[in-house]
Symmetry: C2
Subunit: 382 residues, 2 copies
C-alpha cells in the first residue's frame, strides 16, 4: 500500500479528489488498497484519507488499515436522489470536510467537475500521473509482479507444449490430442486454465497464426497451421494483488522459410540488444531508436503496404504495474529510466505473407542494469 503523503511532493496544495472503482480506480487502490465494483469517492487531504462508500462497501472499507475515515450517504445525510449522483456525493463530502478548492485527476469525469463548479467550488486538474511514485515499484510490488509473470511463464510453457505435441493433417492444419483441428481458441483455453489455477486472469491473450499475427491486437481465431508463425502474447493480472505480468513468444511448427527465420533472428537480436541497453539514465527514446536502427540496418521497412501497417509498427515497450500499459514509455518520446521502473521490451516485425514475430520480456530496472521478472526460453521452431 501507498504510504506517502501526496501533498509532500509539493504537487498538491489543495486536497485531491479521486473516483475509486471508476476513472481513478487504480490510483485509489494504490493510495488506500481499497477497490469496489461501482464508483465511490476518495479524498486525500494532507495525511487524512477519506472514503465515501455505499452501505454495501462500508463493512470492508471500515476494516482497512491506515488513517482512513469512512463516510456513507447516510452519514452525510444525502437525499435518495442525490446519493445516485457521484457529483452530488462529491459536493456533500467536500462541504462536510470544509474544503473550498480541490484537485482532480485529468481522468475525472467532466460531469463531476461541472457539478462541483456549479456549487462554487474551485477545481484544479492535477498533472499526469496523479502519483508519479507509482512508476517506481516497491519490493512488495515487484514480488507481486514476479508472481504474475511466473503464471505467464507457466502458461507459455503449456501453450508451446501443446503446439509442439500437435500433429499435422494433409491440409497443413495442426491437430490436437483427440485428432481434431487445433485452433487458436483451444490453445487460449489451455493458457487461461493455467492462469486460473494461479489466481490470475487475462481477457485478451493473443494466439495469432500467420497473417493474423501481423495485426498486433488480433487475438487470433480458427485453425493453426504448419509453417506459420504463431504469436503467443500472455498478459495476466493477479486477482489477489491486481499486478500484471506480460510476455510474448513467437513459435512455428515445422520448418520455417529463410525469410521467417531471418525475421525471427532479427527481432531476437534486437530484443537482446535493447535489454542490454536498459539501465538508469538511459531514455526510452534511445532504446526505441536502437531497435528502429537495427531493423532498418537489417533491411526491414515500416509503413503502410496495401493500406495495412507493416514492419515495426509499435513502440519497443511500456511500463507495467497495476495497469498493463503505464509509464514509463519505451518509445519515440520515452524519458530517462530509473531504478525501480518495471518495463517490457517487445520489438516486433510484421509482414503479410511472412507473418508476425514479437518477443517480449518484462524487467525491472536495477541500479546497474535490469533483471528479468521471469525467464522463458526463446525457441522459434517447436
Amino acid at each position: 500500500m501507498f504510504d506517502g503523503d501526496p501533498a509532500l511532493n509539493g504537487k498538491y496544495t489543495s486536497p485531491l479528489l479521486l473516483i475509486g472503482g471508476g476513472a481513478d480506480a487504480l490510483s485509489v487502490r494504490y493510495a488506500t488498497s481499497f477497490e469496489a465494483p461501482d464508483p465511490f469517492l476518495c479524498l486525500l487531504k494532507g495525511k487524512e484519507r477519506h472514503l465515501l462508500v455505499s452501505m454495501l462497501e462500508f463493512g470492508r472499507a471500515q476494516r482497512l488499515q491506515g488513517n482512513i475515515t469512512c463516510h456513507t450517504p447516510d452519514s452525510l445525510s444525502l437525499s435518495t436522489a442525490d446519493r445516485r449522483h457521484l457529483g452530488k456525493q462529491a459536493v456533500a463530502l467536500i462541504r462536510h470536510l470544509g474544503v473550498k478548492r480541490v484537485y482532480v485527476s485529468p481522468q475525472c469525469p467532466v460531469g463531476v467537475v461541472r457539478e462541483l463548479e456549479s456549487e462554487g467550488l474551485k477545481v484544479l486538474v492535477s498533472p499526469e500521473p496523479v502519483f508519479s511514485s507509482r512508476m517506481l515499484k516497491r519490493e512488495d510490488e515487484i514480488r507481486s509482479m514476479r508472481e504474475s509473470q511466473r503464471a505467464a511463464v507457466a502458461a507459455m510453457k503449456r501453450a508451446v507444449e501443446v503446439i509442439h505435441r500437435a500433429g499435422v493433417d494433409k491440409k497443413g492444419r495442426l491437430l490436437n490430442g483427440s485428432g481434431g483441428v487445433l485452433t487458436s481458441e483451444e490453445v487460449r483455453l489451455e493458457i487461461e486454465k493455467v492462469l486460473l489455477e494461479r489466481q490470475c486472469a487475462a481477457d485478451d491473450i493473443i494466439v495469432a497464426g500467420g497473417d493474423q499475427g501481423v495485426d498486433p491486437h488480433e487475438r487470433g481465431y480458427g485453425p493453426l497451421r504448419v509453417g506459420e508463425t504463431i504469436v503467443l502474447d500472455i498478459f495476466p493480472y493477479s486477482k489477489k494483488t491486481g499486478y500484471w505480468g506480460d510476455m510474448t513468444r513467437t513459435v512455428i511448427k515445422g520448418q520455417p522459410t529463410r525469410e521467417q527465420l531471418h525475421l525471427f533472428q532479427t527481432v531476437l537480436s534486437a530484443q537482446r540488444e535493447a535489454i542490454r541497453r536498459v539501465k538508469p539514465g538511459v531514455t526510452g527514446k534511445e532504446i526505441h531508436q536502437g531497435v528502429v536502427a537495427a531493423f532498418k540496418k537489417a533491411g526491414y521497412q515500416t509503413g503502410l503496404v496495401d493500406g495495412i501497417p507493416q514492419g515495426f509498427i509499435h513502440s519497443t515497450g511500456h511500463g507495467v504495474g497495476l495497469e498493463i500499459h503505464e509509464g514509463p514509455s519505451i518509445g519515440p518520446s520515452g524519458g530517462p529510466l530509473k531504478a525501480g521502473h518495471v518495463i517490457t521490451i517487445e520489438p516486433g516485425l510484421y509482414y503479410l505473407g511472412v507473418g508476425g514475430v514479437r518477443i517480449e520480456d518484462t524487467l525491472v530496472v536495477t541500479e546497474t542494469g535490469s533483471s528479468l521478472l521471469g525467464r522463458c526460453r526463446k525457441v522459434f521452431q517447436v
Copy 2:
C-alpha cells in the same frame, strides 16, 4: 450493433465525441462494435462515424461494417508529442472535421475537455445515459445475454454439486473429494473453469459462507462450514459479445436452524412476488418498496447493528447489458419499466450470526410481464 443515428432523437444538436477503450468504452462498442485495450476517439456526426485509432488498431478498425471512417495520428499529421495526448488528438480530429462545438459524455475525462476548451472549442455535456436506447435490448442482445446466463446456470449447478458432495470433518468444515478442507476459493475455481469453457469470464464471483455473506461484496475466503449459509453470486460476461449474465443462489450444507430457514423462505417469497410484479409501466421504485414492505411485515429490520449494516441493505435489482450494473434501477428512485429492459431481481437479508441470504434472477421485461433469462432451482439445503 447500434444502427440508429444518435442525432435522430433530438438529443445531440452537435457532434458527439466519445472515448473508446476508456471512459466511454461501452457506448463506443455499442455504437460501432469496436473496442481496443487503450483509449481511442470516436466522433459521431449525424450519420457519420469517425474513429481515431493508433496504427496498431487500424487494420481491425478498417474491417468494421457500417459507415465508419478511420483516422490515424499519421493521417491527421499529429506530432510525436501530441499523439500521446488524447486531448491533442481530439483537437486534431475535431478541427479536421470542421467541427466547432461538441457534446461529450458526463464520463469524459476533464483533461480532454480542458484541452478542447483551451483551443476555443465549445464543449457541451450530454445528459445521462449517452444512448438511452442501450437500456432497450434488441433480440440479438437478449440472445447474447441468455448465453451468458446459461453459463452462469451451468457454473451454479457445478458449485451446488461440489457443496452437495462435500463431506464434513469433526470441526464442521466441509471436505473436498481429496479429503482436504473445501474452501470458498476452491468452489470459485470450479465456477471459473465452467465459465471459461463457455468463453465467459468473471472476476468477482462470490462464494461467501456464514458472516462473510453478510457483507454483500465480500468474495469469500477460507473453509466452508456445515450449518452456514453460503451465498453464490455468479456474474459472467461473454468474451465474445461483452454481455453479462447475473445469478445468485444461497445454499446450506446440513440442517438449517429455524432462523436460517425463515430467512431463506422470506427472501424467496419476496423474490417471487417481486418477479410477479414486473411488467411495463410498473416502476422500479414500486417493486423495491414491495420487497421492503414484505421484509418489514416478516419482522426483519434494516440498519446499523454494532456499526455493521444489516437487514435489506441494497436495492432490489439493476439493469444488465454491456455493463453488469446499468439502467434501469429497481430501487428507491427506479422509474417505469419498459418491454426490452433486462433487469435483476435480487432481494437479500443479512444478519451477523445467522448469515446472508440473497436470491437473484435476471429477466427480460416483456409486453405482458417478464421472462427469465435462465432457469436454475432454488434449493436451500443441499
